[in-house]
């Protein structure tokens, strides 16, 4: 019997199990992690709180996981002590890259499925990612305490997908803790221990890297070969940069310094660097002296897929916004930004995001953590525009759409979309996808009543209101997953919106030729409602190039005068005017047209397309 303490590292690999929990959004990953923290005794009863590992304010507020979190747990099976490294992952499609990284640090994965919902789109997406990495998958049904749970039905569904027996599917309630003890035992039994060469030169994979105000960059690693000790300098294999180690430690569930990390162990290191980019996720860490020659296979950095302009409502907040973006970027490699100017909105930044939820969360954090008031322009994807003169233009902002030369070809990003829904909705889903220029790739029945549809769809079509449309056509029963799938040529045009003949750059959009009229018309109508009447008539036009495709008119205001006898109460009159003047200051002027901020905000708000929208106030009690 080997006696082990979870706080003492250099555990023999045969007693280590590295696994993550993967699932569709909300299927209970973080809650299951809670029970594991409790059962293993690393979090005391009185320190416990729901979704313990969701440490960010925004995660707690919205009830979702954004960052993957790892934690080291002790577990005894029979008479033998073991060390488990658990990684809780996010379920939302925008943060799939977090799942990929976590998988790279593990030998096994718990695939968690809500027993009242069954398999959903991210269940499949994450399952495939895990199988792709040759991980051992343990299928588990969660929430069996729910009256609506149908564990038998979904156990069959899961078994069918994974290719195991329905009896192999474990059943737990992360809420009551039922079955969690048995699940931990199964983890020890089923997940293979890590293999690595203890005497080989050190090689550790960076799977996360986080900026901490007090400690600088904290780099999370999984040791594959050799060992990492605080006494030895390390080298980053991609850049060759060497660093002194200030601290090496484990998370259990708070950071604890240790003597080092051995084969198969997961922990963190601190070097004192201030920039996460010097500690790149996917890079291999080795020792400076007698280091390894071959790095571990890395992984692709997340690429922003959706772009939007962020502008401070109050122009003088521009420097605050810049600092805030820099700070967020320290922790968010996927966030990109560069300065841009808009005639209508002033100085701001063109920011790149992984998806709409990422955009929404970043914006919310900027507003809350940095006390900013922001306008964001309608999100768009990246286009490659080839002109007949042979030049190529990368367009991340509709204003960069080339207007000079003749366009030869435009490439737009496409995505592979998976929709899972009850089969009665097949017709409705197909109709929706066809309307969005989709191409059916295939269809599979998961069970008699549930079907998986696979489509190729332009990314631009799904980042707006696709999820909402899908939800409303399937009464909320459909789930959606998508991944990048290259590019295609498309017949795209830029639609400009003009006020009194002046284009308002913030309202320009790149849309498919067939959708130009409806976009132009919708915007013009919206703006007619939103822009207050001016002292002159204001024509609103939508144009493709010089061709006007839609037109609305804001009639001139006829009366703007207080006509009442207030006797000698001049102060009241003056204060009224001062208030009106204040209102005027909050207007942006386009040409001579005064447009209230609210009109920009309202006109630019897509009826939100993130699949967390319907979660609303999912309160954490």
């Amino acid at each position: 019997m080997t006696r082990l303490s979870a706080d003492t590292t250099f555990t023999p690999p045969e007693f280590i199990r590295n696994f993550c929990i993967i699932a569709h959004i909300d299927h209970g990953k973080s809650t299951l992690a809670d029970r594991m923290l409790q059962l293993t005794g690393v979090v005391e009863e009185r320190a416990m709180r729901a979704q313990y590992l969701d440490r960010m304010d925004i995660e707690r507020e919205r009830g979702i996981t954004i960052k993957a979190q790892n934690v080291r747990l002790p577990w005894r099976l029979g008479e033998q002590d073991h060390v488990l490294h658990l990684i809780d992952t996010p379920g939302h499609v925008d943060f799939t890259y977090e799942v990929s990284r976590a998988l790279a640090a593990c030998e096994g994965a718990i695939l968690l499925v809500d027993a009242a919902q069954g398999i959903e789109a991210q269940t499949l997406a994450n399952l495939y990612l895990a199988l792709d990495k040759d991980l051992h998958v343990i299928p588990v049904l969660n929430k069996i305490d729910l009256p609506a749970a149908e564990p038998d039905k979904y156990a069959a569904e899961l078994a069918h997908i994974i290719g195991c027996e329905p009896t192999d599917v474990l059943r737990v309630s992360a809420k009551t803790g039922e079955g969690v003890r048995e699940l931990l035992d199964e983890v020890v039994r089923q997940v293979p221990p890590p293999v690595g060469e203890a005497d080989a030169p050190a090689r550790a994979m960076i799977f996360d890297s986080v900026y901490d105000t007090y400690r600088g960059v904290v780099t999370y690693i999984r040791v594959v070969d050799g060992k990492i000790t605080p006494r030895e300098k390390i080298r980053m294999m991609s850049t060759g940069a060497t660093h002194e180690l200030l601290e090496v430690g484990i998370i259990s569930p708070e950071p604890k310094p240790t003597r080092g990390l051995g084969v198969g162990e997961v922990g963190y290191l601190i070097t004192g660097v201030k920039d996460v980019r010097q500690s790149k996720v996917g890079d291999t860490v080795t020792s400076e002296r007698k280091g390894a020659d071959e790095p571990l296979p890395g992984y692709r950095e997340p690429q922003p897929m959706v772009f939007s302009g962020l502008y401070p409502v109050d122009g003088s907040d521009y420097p605050v916004l810049r600092d805030a973006l820099e700070k967020l970027q320290l922790n968010d490699a996927a966030l990109t930004f560069e300065p841009e100017t808009s005639v209508a909105l002033g100085f701001g930044f063109r920011c790149g995001f992984l998806g709409l939820l990422h955009l929404e969360i970043t914006r919310a954090r900027l507003e809350r953590e940095f006390d900013l008031d922001l306008i964001s322009t309608a999100p768009n994807v990246v286009y490659e525009v080839y002109l007949e003169d042979g030049t190529e233009h990368i367009v991340t902002n509709p204003s960069d759409w080339p207007t000079g030369g003749k366009i030869a070809e435009v490439h737009e990003p496409v995505s592979k979309v998976t929709v899972i829904a009850p089969s009665e909705f097949i017709g409705a889903i197909m109709e929706l996808c066809q309307g969005k220029r989709g191409q059916l790739l295939g269809m599979d029945y998961l069970s008699e009543e549930r079907v998986e549809l696979r489509y190729r769809l332009p990314l631009a079509e799904i980042i707006f209101d696709f999820f909402d449309a899908l939800k409303s056509r399937t009464r909320g029963y459909a789930s959606l997953d998508y991944e990048e799938a290259g590019q295609q040529t498309a017949d795209l045009v830029k639609v400009d919106i003009l006020l009194q003949g002046e284009p308002v750059d913030a309202f320009s959009a790149i849309v498919h030729k067939d959708a130009a009229y409806s976009y132009g018309n919708r915007m013009a109508t919206k703006l007619r409602e939103l822009i207050p009447r001016q002292q002159f008539e204001v024509p609103i036009q939508a144009a493709v190039g010089s061709r006007i495709i839609a037109r609305e008119t804001i009639r001139a205001i006829r009366k703007d005068v207080l006509a009442k006898c207030y006797g000698g109460d001049i102060s009241r009159k003056r204060k009224l005017l001062e208030k009106q003047k204040e209102g005027k200051k909050r207007m942006k002027t386009v040409g001579r047209v005064e447009v209230p901020q609210e009109a920009f905000v309202a006109a630019l708000s897509t009826e939100s397309g993130t699949d967390k929208g319907d979660k609303g106030g999912k309160g954490k009690k």
Binding site: Q535, V561, A563, G567, S571, L577, K581
Partner: protein
């Protein structure tokens, strides 16, 4: 006898008193009583029921005398009043003797300048030939009657209690009693008012042969019964486009009858028919505002009295002025006030008053057809017909 002086005793600064008497000086007296409350009205006025036991017209008059006496003291060497305006509320509820007493109190405190204009507002239903004869004899020179409309259903929506024909008869009676200057107040844009109703009201006004007309667009004031009815959807809110059309109709009909606008909401048959007291408000004159809730202005200081008649009486009984608050206008305040008040006058505003950006804005406003180009060439900002309806917008442009 010692008089306790409240610590917040209001005193006009020396700087405000400088030049007093070189500018026109007026006295406004507020009569805070009405027989019933009209649904649209948010003026400081009280029905007998609302007054309670702490106040009565009698205690009000007593307070007024005291206030005017204190006012004369506060002003040092009080100038004689060039204009007196007794407004309300419903001054005619005091009767001819009551109004005579009010004027007596003003005379006692300040004296009247030769040729002084002395106006009283009156509600048509509380007037009669003897009333007009009485106030004429007491020294009043001008009467302003709240007619509002000639259409019975409009008067009903407005909660007015007079019969449709009464205002015109009252105006005639006033003229017969020797009043050369008679004004009729109109409200247009009342829910349910049709063009022909407004036409009828205008015809009636012209038929009365008055030399002055005030016409106001109905304002739905917060907290009034009218506002509640509009909010509940019982009555439609007045529509700005319709109000503009009504204003144009009013202006056209009055013009045809020789009444010209001299302020956005005021028309007169000639310079002598203009209300000098109100012009004082608009041209930066000095006046003492006496009575509950009254506002006064002297040399860049504005102040206002406590609103409730009981508080008013109590404060005066304590021996101090019943002032509730005051403000000393900053340079910027004065500038904005000057632009906003004088621009509403047919005479307009000297362009020299404007700052550089205001003058540039004036050029643009002229190009937009809101300011009269000829007047601008002559150095004044004068609203065009269309500009009058957009006066507030022009003010915001001229005093940014």
């Amino acid at each position: 006898m010692t008089i306790a002086v409240p610590p917040d005793q209001f005193a006009l600064p020396e700087s405000a008193l400088r030049g007093l008497g070189t500018r026109p000086f007026g006295v406004y007296v507020h009569v805070p009583f009405c027989a019933t409350r009209c649904g649209y009205c948010d003026f400081n006025t009280y029905t007998a029921g609302e007054l309670g036991s702490g106040a009565s017209p009698g205690s009000w008059l007593e307070g007024l005398r005291r206030e005017l006496a204190l006012a004369a003291e506060a002003l040092g060497t009080p100038p004689a009043a060039d204009t007196v305006f007794v407004g309300g509320g419903t001054p005619s509820l005091l009767g001819a003797e009551g109004l005579a007493a009010v004027l007596g109190a003003v005379r006692d405190a300040f004296g009247l300048a030769p040729g002084a204009e002395v106006t009283t507002e009156s509600n048509p239903e509380s007037t009669a030939p003897e009333f007009f004869a009485g106030i004429r004899a007491a020294g009043y020179t001008r009467v302003s009657l709240g007619m509002q409309s000639a259409a019975p259903h409009v008067l009903r929506v407005l909660d007015r209690v007079h019969t449709p024909g009464r205002p015109v008869r009252a105006a005639r009676e006033a003229r017969a009693a020797g009043f050369e200057h008679v004004n009729l107040d109109l409200i247009y844009g009342t829910p349910g008012e049709r063009t022909e109703d407004l036409e009828a009201s205008l015809a009636a006004v012209l038929d009365a042969g008055v030399d002055h007309v005030s016409a106001y667009a109905l304002i739905v004031e917060e907290g009034t019964a009218l506002a509640r009815r509009v909010r509940r959807g019982e009555l439609p809110a007045p529509d700005d486009d319709a109000l503009a059309a009504s204003y144009e109709l009013v202006d056209r009909r009055l013009n045809e009858a020789g009444l010209r606008w001299y302020e956005v909401s005021n028309w007169a048959s000639g310079p002598a028919a203009r209300c000098r007291h109100n012009l004082g408000y608009w041209q930066g004159g000095d006046w003492w505002g006496a009575g509950p809730g009254a506002h006064g202005h002297v040399g860049g200081v504005r102040w206002w009295n406590v609103k409730h008649p009981a508080r008013y009486a109590a404060r005066l009984a304590d021996g101090g002025l019943p002032v509730a608050g005051h403000e000393v206008l900053t340079e910027a305040d004065r500038h904005l006030e000057r632009v906003l008040l004088e621009l509403r006058l047919a005479e307009g505003l000297p362009l020299g008053v404007l700052h550089d950006d205001g003058r540039r804005a004036a050029a643009e406003a002229a190009a937009d057809g809101l300011l009269d180009p000829a007047a601008r060439a002559a150095g004044r900002a004068v609203l065009t017909d269309r500009g009058r309806l957009l006066a507030d917008a022009v003010v915001r442009r001229l005093a940014p």
